[in-house]
């Protein structure tokens, strides 16, 4: 005789270690299968767009640090690009190289966090996460040498970067670049040759490409499903035009591909950092600008970067004053989250956390 069952609704979060921040999911299960999902967020909403309307253009840099707090450098970069386009500022070449170098180091740090938490979500509690955090720590140490801060860096400014790197930064960066490839080999081996992990991630959480495009998804999750679209290639900013790197692309769009794309991107980032070190010319790092920036009235700009999570854009409108009239933040985490129903419905409870982790959301950026 079949046993009568009925769906049960479970509340996950907002305080839950595997939701990657203060994020709440109302999930309806039929047995172990997920039949419906409702994401609820806004717990970390600080009104960044409103705050930006009350600060001057340079002060807003500090607000951008707090959007995606594991990738502050790329946030700074996107915002600074938008301001520079608004005012037509030319950034000195050395400043552009320093920015690209810092942004790529940040990409490695962010992907390490994503990979570490993927393993954590799979049930390998603690140890692999700490392997990733140990390496991220080296990057944060480098940032500390660059600008004195580790997380909320505020290193970049409209017109360039805050300050040139100190003398002892370069040998430290060399040591990092020499060491890192062997660590990435080790990490990839730990994962890609581990049968237990492969069974859990291969062909789980597949996302079809047409659906991703329709849902405005961007970044590694788009590339993992087979579209080689990277804004660093498609719409180069700073000095990406002159740098050689590949855009890794997956085929299945499952959790394994998303992980694999991030692994390969870390290697490409190392390649870019190395090229920056070799090509960087001496010279000024920041354009000469007045203390308070006043863009022309009615000017508009959209500055965008390929952040570790996807397309991060700032849409600025000026009314001729010292603060932007409107500062819209196009956050990749929020838009990638649109896929959540496709990603979770039809999968089991145990896959839910892994699937959610594989899109690598950051609540600071979702809620702003």
């Amino acid at each position: 005789m079949p046993i009568r069952t009925e769906p049960i609704t479970v509340n996950i979060g907002p305080q839950h270690p595997s939701t990657h921040g203060v994020f709440r999911l109302r999930v309806t299960f039929d047995g172990e299968m997920i039949v419906d999902v409702e994401p609820i967020f806004g717990y970390l909403h600080r009104g960044t767009e409103k705050l930006a309307e009350e600060r001057n253009y340079t002060q807003i840099v500090t607000l951008t640090d707090r959007l995606d707090y594991v990738a502050s450098m790329t946030n700074n970069q996107a915002y600074c690009l938008a301001v520079e386009r608004l005012m037509g500022i030319e950034v000195p070449i050395r400043g552009q190289y320093l920015r690209v170098m810092a942004a790529e180091l940040q990409r490695i740090a962010s992907h390490l966090v994503a990979t570490g938490f993927l393993l954590q979500d799979l049930g390998a509690l603690g140890t692999p996460l700490m392997y990733c955090f140990r390496e991220r720590e080296r990057i944060l140490d480098l940032f500390e040498m660059l600008c004195g801060a580790r997380i909320t860096v505020s290193y970049m400014r409209p017109g360039g970067v805050y300050y040139d790197a100190p003398e002892d930064f370069w040998p430290a960066l060399d040591r990092f670049l020499d060491y890192m490839p062997s660590y990435l080999d080790e990490l990839e081996q730990l994962l890609a040759e581990n049968e237990i992990i492969l069974v859990r991630v291969r062909n789980v959480g597949n996302l079809p490409l047409d659906r991703l495009i329709a849902c405005s998804a961007s970044g590694p999750i788009l590339r993992a499903s087979g579209l080689a679209w990277d804004w660093r290639k498609a719409d180069p900013y700073d000095v990406y035009d002159g740098l050689e790197f590949d855009v890794p692309v997956g085929t299945n769009g499952d959790n394994l591909d998303r992980f694999w794309v991030r692994m390969q991107e870390m290697r490409q980032s190392l390649r870019i950092v190395r090229q920056c070190v070799e090509q960087m010319p001496p010279g000024p790092v920041r354009a000469e600008l007045p203390l308070v920036l006043r863009p022309p009235k009615g000017a508009e700009s959209y500055g965008r970067v390929e952040s570790p999570k996807g397309e991060l854009g700032f849409y600025l409108i000026s009314d001729g004053g010292i603060s932007p009239y409107r500062c819209k933040i196009r956050s990749p985490s929020l838009l990638n989250l649109t896929m959540i129903k496709d990603l979770l419905i039809g999968w089991k409870l145990a896959d839910m956390i892994v699937n959610l982790g594989s899109i690598d959301i950051n609540m600071g950026e979702v809620d702003r």
Binding site: F41, G42, H45, G47, E49, K50, R211, I213, A214, C215, S216, A217, L227, W229, K233, A234, D235, P236, Y302, R304, E311, G313, Y315, I317, Y325, R326, K328, R330, L334, L335, L337, T338, D367, R368
Partner: protein
């Protein structure tokens, strides 16, 4: 290769050919569509084989006191070109714009966010409720006439 922006004059002609009388105003860099037709024009731009603007980068809204402006930014991966499309909605109550969620499901959270923070409703959106703030929050904070609480 850089992402190019479509020429506004040509784009306006192209849209006018399919939807006569849909363009409200055009300048050298800006193009405003009449609010009731915005969803139809978006669908046309997405499906047109010469444009193929299949990716919606973002939707944002701006408060210009006497009207709201909703700004759409879309991109074609095949041709690597982008365009901004704008529409003006007058009034300070709860102005309405047709939703583009049927065309781009990615508009879902952005339209809800605009309703939440800016107070512009999207007609045809199946779940038009607040997203970042809680139900019952007084007003829409990104409006220019929003009054901050005196004390917290």
């Amino acid at each position: 290769m850089m992402t190019s922006f479509l020429d506004v004059g040509e784009l306006a002609q192209h849209i006018q050919a399919a939807y006569p009388d849909s363009v409200e105003e055009q300048t050298a860099s800006h193009l405003w569509i009449k609010p009731p037709l915005i969803a139809d024009v978006c669908r046309f731009l997405k499906e047109d084989p010469e444009l193929k603007l299949e990716f919606l980068n973002s939707i944002s809204a701006v408060d210009y006191i006497d009207h709201f402006e909703v700004v759409y930014l879309m991109t074609s991966f095949e041709f690597n070109h982008s365009t901004f499309l704008r529409t003006r909605v007058p009034g300070r109550g709860e102005p309405e714009v047709p939703s583009v969620i049927e065309i781009w499901p990615g508009a879902d959270y952005q339209e809800r966010e605009i309703w939440d923070l800016m107070g512009v409703r999207f007609e045809g959106h199946p779940n038009m409720k607040r997203i970042l703030l809680w139900e019952g929050f007084p007003g829409h904070p990104l409006r220019k006439d929003f009054q901050d609480a005196v004390e917290y």
